[in-house]
Amino acid sequence: MHPPLLTHNGVSLSTNLFTQQAKCCSKRFLGIRNKNKGLLLAPLFLAALIGMCSQARAADQTIIGLVTKTEVNPYFVKLRQAATAEAEKHGAKLIPRFGKFDGDNEGQVAAIENLISAGAKGILITPNNSTGVLGAVKKARDKGILVIALDTATDPLDAVDATLATDNFEAGVKQGEYARKTLGNKTPKLAMLDGTPGGTVDTLRHNGFLKGFGIKEGDPAIVGKQITHGAQDEGQTAMENLLSAHPDINVVYTINEPAAEGAYAAIKAAGKTNDIVLTSIDGGRLGVEYVKGGKIAATVMQFPKIMATRGVDYVVDYAKDGKKPTGFINTGSQLITDKPFPDLPSKDTKWGLENCWG
């Protein structure tokens, strides 16, 4: 966890000791005689304590809400950390919330509603699904809250004030172009490891890749598609199955690097590391290292830190002078590979490691 959060925990722990006595008193007050049973009430008081020691001191502070998809994906963790640091720099308070799983629209809607209640000045959100949270977003904007979509655009785009995102289609195109070039004259046998069906980013990357690769959906070159939810284990299983069905696969699209890592394990087990071009997208530190170590031929890096910091900056500006950003703001993407082609702009893994998001 990052430093500010640690301080926060430290405070609550020390307060905890301080209020032990209070706990005992309350126990007597509630008339609970049995010692052991009383202990079971302790968690309740602990929870109460957590609430007490974190008074919302936000009266004079700008509150910025950040609603990410999940907390399991390191991408969103980095995004959150960057946003928190940037908010602190400006003396604003960042309240992070997240869905419980990819597709948890209900969780995200509840988070937005609660942030409105908390008096947030601006909300940065990575929507699960381009349409799922629009009702809550509208409620927030009606209350004069600046809503900026990060990483994923909404549909329609103007449902939010502004969108700070990687142009995922463009990023997919870069991935596809590179894959095609590496393949050279070989007849492509493409395997596609998708994320979550229906996800906006997933669709954009997928379609972008196909465009860059120069084929259309349904092209016979696509020998198989599998759902991985962007997870390593599912990526591995999917790749294993695809390889056993189509041993002649020679190029692989993956939705992100964990899925690519899983796919690599399957490819390696099949002894085909030299026959298959494995490409990915995202640009986490691990991903760049995979490229450096030769597991992945190339990845397309995006810049969540820029999304986070600029998002926070926009809200801070808005709180100051009421100025709102508008439209789609591309935070860019960068092809990372150590085997570059002169006509495809790319950076090497050294640069990648310096500039990656985690």
Binding site: A48, P96, R97, G103, N114, G135, P197
Partner: protein, 329 residues
């Protein structure tokens, strides 16, 4: 309860026992304590708008939990409820996009739910398969069916009837959605069924001592079947409420519906072993989770604390249940 007068190996219960008081008072106490803490530590918690929000956020899980409570009372468990609700939203969402007959689409979605409930109930009551396994199987089946029907897409729902439950009227400055009214109505209905009808007593008796229920002549199999069908009907209604709350039928939604509803039921003081508990405890349990989520957001605390506290509550609830049962044996 001056039962301890008789000698013998079995002792009576102590006059005041936290264990026996927990099922009714415990959850309310927890809800009260959390609410009190958040009222003091934040300025907005008690605002009418915020309270209305908390209730709105409880509607879907709250409705799923009614069915879950009935099933758990019989000594079963339902792992497929969220998946069934999602299937219903997708069926309704897709049908209304294709046919534009909202009432029929909704009805059809609910009928599908009942049909699934019938299958689940038949497997459990007639073949005697464990509910855990049957509903685990149906979780997979229904989720896959949902994805097949959705074809990777989500269905935005604009129809007035399907999203009607999201509309609100004003009650003393707080917005109350029709979905909330529907949910409260369902709680009243089920409370009536459980406490005022023979059906309800049979549910408790089956969960409490299934063999005894059979011996006194309760048609155990039919009762179980009716519970699973009725619960599935409630899941269908939950789908309607879900479309009101988020007018977008998304195959990836509500993945934790099963666990969230079990959490609410257990925190609400209903015994996982069946036969004990009450429906209002479940509503309280649902509200506790929502109050936590809302209150922690208002206080700006890391949301992971919510899961942590919820986990502690679940274990405490089950531990108290276990202790009270051991005492009374």
């Amino acid at each position: 309860m001056s039962v301890g007068t008789l000698p013998g190996p079995r002792r009576g219960v102590q006059p005041v026992s936290l264990g026996s008081a927990w099922p009714t008072l415990g959850p309310l106490l927890v809800l009260f304590v959390f609410s009190a803490v958040f009222s003091f530590s934040t300025r907005t918690f008690l605002a009418a708008g915020n309270l209305s929000l908390i209730v709105q956020q409880s509607v879907i899980v709250g409705t799923l939990s009614i069915g879950q409570t009935l099933i758990i009372l019989t000594g079963g468990i339902d792992l497929a409820n969220g998946a069934i609700t999602v299937l219903a939203t997708i069926v309704a969402g897709r049908l209304v996009n294709d046919q534009n007959n909202p009432a029929l689409s909704l009805l059809f979605a609910i009928v599908i739910c009942i049909f699934i409930g019938l299958l689940v109930g038949l497997l459990i009551s007639r073949l005697g398969l464990p509910p855990f396994i049957v509903t685990l199987g149906f979780l997979g089946i229904v989720t896959a069916a949902t994805r097949l029907i959705a074809q990777g897409g989500a269905f935005p729902v604009t129809d007035d009837l399907l999203s009607w439950t999201g509309n609100a009227f004003n009650l003393g400055g707080a917005a109350v959605t029709y979905g909330t009214v529907v949910m409260i109505g369902l709680y009243l209905l089920v409370s009536y069924l459980l406490t005022q009808t023979a059906w309800g007593r049979h549910i408790y008796a089956i969960g409490n001592n299934r063999e005894a229920a059979r011996l006194v002549g309760i048609p155990v199999q039919n009762r179980l079947l009716s519970v699973y069908c009725f619960a599935a009907l409630l899941y269908g209604v939950a789908a309607w409420l879900a479309l009101g709350r988020i007018p977008n039928a998304d195959p990836n939604a509500l993945q934790n519906g099963n666990l969230d509803s079990i959490t609410a039921v257990v925190i609400g003081g209903t015994s996982l072993f069946g036969g004990r508990g009450n429906i209002w405890g479940t509503l309280t349990g649902t509200l506790i989770v929502s109050v936590l989520r809302n209150g922690l957001t208002l206080s700006g605390i890391d949301p992971l604390w919510q899961d942590l506290v919820t986990g502690i509550l679940v274990i405490s609830a089950v531990a108290l249940d276990q202790i009270s049962r051991r005492k009374q044996r």
